[in-house]
């Protein structure tokens, strides 16, 4: 059983469309991070959210942390082919462990 469930698993859209990726859990996380991973590369951090209800914007990307700190979303406005990749959410639980718990990922394909 995956502690962090991501949806959708796959998404293929046209350039210029908007999309939202969801990351849900029944557990509380002290922080949640979003990464993007390209083929043959390691994940690269996009953002960290730590406060329930927090919203962060990074150019065309908007990240939200749920009030109860159990879920998060990533919204991309006017997607571009360069946004193509695997998007991973990862949480850090308030158990003293530094290890990240990753979701299974959302594979995004943006067609030109």
């Amino acid at each position: 059983t995956q502690l962090l469930e991501q949806s959708p698993q796959f998404l293929s859209i046209q350039e210029g469309e908007n999309l939202t990726v969801y990351c849900n859990s029944s557990s509380v996380f002290s922080s949640l991070q979003w990464y993007r991973q390209e083929p043959g590369e390691g994940p690269v951090l996009l953002v960290t959210v730590v406060t329930g209800g927090e919203v962060k914007k990074l150019k065309r990307l908007t990240f939200q942390f749920g009030d109860a700190r159990k879920d998060s979303s990533l919204h991309i406005t006017a997607a571009q082919p360069g946004d193509t990749g695997l998007y991973l959410c990862a949480g850090e639980r308030n158990t003293g462990r530094r290890a990240l718990t990753f979701g299974s990922g959302t594979r995004l394909q943006v067609q030109p």
Binding site: S31, G40, G42, L45, L88, R98, L100, T101, F102, S104
Partner: protein
């Protein structure tokens, strides 16, 4: 500056063989992490080092897996008696202090294939 490097980038071995995977973290980073990523999945935590010591090895699947970081820099993940189910991409990450929300920087991974 140099990021996290991992060698080899690809490793093909036969069932039952022993393999070593190497990670060179970013210089000055005290924390080092190993993760395993199976096809179509997110990374799964294996072990975390703070300096030379393993601060958390709860993710190691069984006693065939072992990791060391003798001088607090380079780390080696060792897998004995490899099985086909060990095939995956093994990712290494490092962070400056290993504190809460300290950013982990990932290497490109080693793709291990056990035939």
């Amino acid at each position: 500056g140099a990021g996290v490097s991992q060698t080899p980038s690809n490793k093909v071995t036969e069932k039952g063989k022993y393999v070593e995977l190497r990670c060179d973290p970013i210089s000055g980073h005290t924390a080092l992490y190993w993760y395993r990523q199976s096809l179509g999945q997110g990374p799964e935590f294996l072990i975390y080092f703070q300096g030379t010591g393993a601060a958390d090895d709860s993710g190691l699947p069984n006693d065939r897996f072992f990791a060391v970081r003798p001088e607090g820099s380079v780390s080696t993940l060792k897998i004995q008696r490899t099985e086909r189910g060990d095939s995956a991409v093994y990712l290494c990450a490092s962070s400056l202090r290993g504190t809460y929300t300290d950013e982990q920087f990932f290497g490109p991974g080693t793709r291990l294939t056990v035939l």
